[in-house]
Symmetry: C2
Subunit: 257 residues, 2 copies
DNA sequence: AGGAGATGTGTAAATTTTACACAATGATAC
DNA sequence: GTATCATTGTGTAAAATTTACACATCTCCT
């Protein structure tokens, strides 16, 4: 059976070309329709969802492995990607059944060792521009799609915990770094940006104070252009001044408290 | 040679009982004489220093492995220990020579594989009460002692980077969590606490405003007792109200900006 | 007994954050 | 074509927070 050979070759490759015991998992955030989304994968022949992830090649740095997976699932390069925690609880495979995996992949039990040993997994979160992503399943999965952050189903492994912690870290990031550069389209309106902040923080903000504050950080450039097509007064379009944005990122100025 | 057998048994144990490719490193902070200190180890028969660290048993969680190492080097239990970053650069062994290690340990080259492969290492930092620590070398080291944070020598691997990032994370922690519970003796004076904050932040703070702020957090209990023996006016002693302290830790109230 | 040096304490100024309202615009409905 | 509705653009005053700052007290040392 062609498929089975492929699986076995892949597992063999895991053993020879990749670091054992360590993996990388990704919480990829997107923003669409005023909702925060995460990209999830569905295992072949099942209804089990999980986070995208990957393994680390022997000659590859941890960050590069994360970028490689991210690129594979989204088609994107050059996006914000940040490590937020490493998960190494012995019980992190509690939502994972070896027998089910066997069925899933049509494997013999001995092939499964690779999957049922506890790995330590390094969690990264990424901020990506929703519209630019081409969700792409990997070898072990049938489907890759966005889920609303508030409607994520129970996931395999400890992946629900990962999303929770990634979101917490993202919220904290918001307090000392600007956000939006890789999450919004190039041109966006002030209400767009505010909605992003409100969605991440889970609270509403004063419109005027928000604008004052954002402009005060001196990372935005207002364009002549306005956004048309809305049913109301046309708002101005803005874009990030990349240099100043990068500087604010590095300087870690105190942002929204 | 008895010693060599011991080494080989240990290396064998690494292969059978511990996760390959992953390790844990510890930045253990102490506070003494108004200086922030880190605990370092010196490799046997060398002048090379590095951070304490360890490996993870197959049936052991990542956090437990870190606690185990911490206990081994300090004799302490129940201390503040927090993961801050995972290091997985392919070049993180650049300050490490395989030949030198051979000399150090008196090993054959084939035994060394365990040391010269790149591991991914999870960095933890700990805050401990200086006076309670009994610095204890491990099998590979001759000496374990405190170093002033400003006088750390060039270390093996990427351990200097680890200290830098641990300190950065500690400074950030200071902005949303109280600190001092496991770093100061049970009873301490307000100037002690202030000195701790100033040392970590690397800047001096106003005495009156500091006190006002600290008392405002409502995590301190002022004792009747005063500290005697100083050459000056006897300052009050304080201690942390553990419950309120824990609550402040969990709530992540905004602290010093 | 006096002096040196550190501690204990409160208030006013400056800054930052928050609250808040009305005119202008553009699509849609009539 | 005109009125309507929902949304955008904009500034100021009050409140809260943060900062700056000085003098009396205590303890050991000389």
């Amino acid at each position: 059976m062609e498929y089975k050979k492929q699986v076995q070759r892949l597992i063999q490759e895991f053993k020879t070309d990749f670091l054992p015991s360590v993996s990388v998992d990704l919480v990829i955030f997107g923003f669409h329709d005023g909702q925060l989304k995460v990209l999830l994968l569905r295992w072949k022949n099942t209804e089990d969802w999980c986070l995208p992830g990957g393994r680390i090649r022997h000659e590859e740095s941890l960050d590069d492995a994360a970028y490689r997976s991210l690129h594979g699932r989204t088609g994107l390069t050059e996006i914000f990607l940040q490590q937020f925690h490493t998960f190494g609880d012995t019980r992190r495979y509690v939502h994972f059944s070896q027998e089910q995996t066997m069925l899933r992949l049509g494997l013999a039990e001995e092939d499964l060792q690779e999957f049922s040993n506890r790995d330590v997994s390094v969690g990264y979160y990424a901020l990506v521009e929703f519209a630019n992503v081409v969700p792409t399943p990997d070898f072990f999965t049938d489907e890759c799609r966005w889920w609303d952050i508030n409607q994520v189903p129970p996931l395999l492994f400890d992946h629900n915990d990962m999303i929770t912690l990634a979101l917490k870290t993202l919220r904290r990031q918001l307090t000392y770094q600007p956000i939006g550069y890789n999450l919004l389209p190039e041109k966006f309106t002030m209400p767009d940006l505010q909605q992003l902040y409100e969605t991440i923080l889970g609270q509403s903000l004063d419109r005027r104070n928000f604008q004052k504050r954002m402009l005060g950080y001196d990372i935005l450039e207002r364009l002549e252009e306005r956004k048309t097509g809305g049913a109301h007064k046309a708002p101005y379009l803005y874009r990030f001044d990349k240099e100043k944005y990068e500087k604010a990122l590095a300087d870690e100025i105190l942002f929204v408290g």
